[in-house]
């Protein structure tokens, strides 16, 4: 069966520091991968999606970037964090159709 991992689970970082969040999927090949951000009490905002290694698309311009160095690995990064980057970051995967996406446990990021 497929599983999705995210780490770290929680992170507190100062403004201006770099960021690296990792997501890995097991038990499937060539999935579509997604990064979402969820502010407190809000809905999900799609940040990036990837249909394959090295293929990254962004839905919303921001202070963040994403990379997919391996088929089942998706990384979210920032060179300098802003206070507004605080939130709950969710990784999701999908393979084939229909459109159902499966979410990881999330990373709670607090920028101080």
């Amino acid at each position: 069966s497929q599983t999705i991992h995210q780490w770290p689970a929680t992170l507190v970082q100062p403004v201006g520091s770099p960021l690296s969040l990792e997501c890995t999927v097991e038990g499937t090949s060539n999935p579509n991968l997604y990064w979402y951000r969820q502010a407190a009490g809000r809905g999900l905002q799609l940040l990036f999606y990837s249909v394959g290694i090295g293929q990254i698309s962004s839905e919303v311009p921001q202070n963040l970037s994403a990379s997919r160095p391996q088929d089942r690995q998706f990384i979210l990064s920032s060179k300098k964090l802003l206070l507004s980057d605080s939130g709950f970051y969710l990784c999701a995967w999908r393979i084939g159709g229909p459109y159902e996406q499966y979410f990881g446990p999330g990373t709670r990021l607090t920028v101080t």
């Binding site: 809905g43 698309s57 969710l90 159902e100 979410f103 446990p105």
Partner: protein, 116 residues
């Protein structure tokens, strides 16, 4: 308990009652809809889906209704239990502006609170 209006941020129901959570979607071309449940501090969990060629689909204690005429989706939870407390999101399929992929766009969510 039944929610009144669309997209209530919070819905409070008595344990054992039926819950109805409503959602309005925006794109008349959407042909696939999902309900997710998100417990505090966790990632969203798939509950049930429905295609646009259906009006109703039932799962275990849950039913999704789709009214394409008014672009309205609802989730009914029978005999609500304390474990049903969560935020519920509807999602519709969506074609990304960057091309090459499609995915989901999510509603803002409804927080379901179960009263003992």
């Amino acid at each position: 308990g039944e929610s009144v209006g669309l997209h209530l941020p919070t819905l409070s129901v008595q344990e054992g009652d039926n819950s109805i959570i409503n959602c309005a979607y925006s794109n008349s071309a959407s042909d696939y809809f999902i309900w997710y449940k998100q417990e505090s501090g966790k990632g969203p969990q798939f509950i049930i889906d429905i295609r646009s060629n259906m009006d109703k689909r039932q799962g275990q204690r849950v039913t999704v209704l789709l009214n394409k005429t008014v672009k309205h989706l609802s989730l009914q939870i029978a005999a609500t239990q304390p474990g049903d407390s969560a935020v519920y999101f509807c999602a519709e399929n969506y074609f990304y502006s960057g091309g090459g992929a499609d995915g989901l766009t999510f509603g803002k969510g409804t927080h379901l609170i179960i009263q003992p």
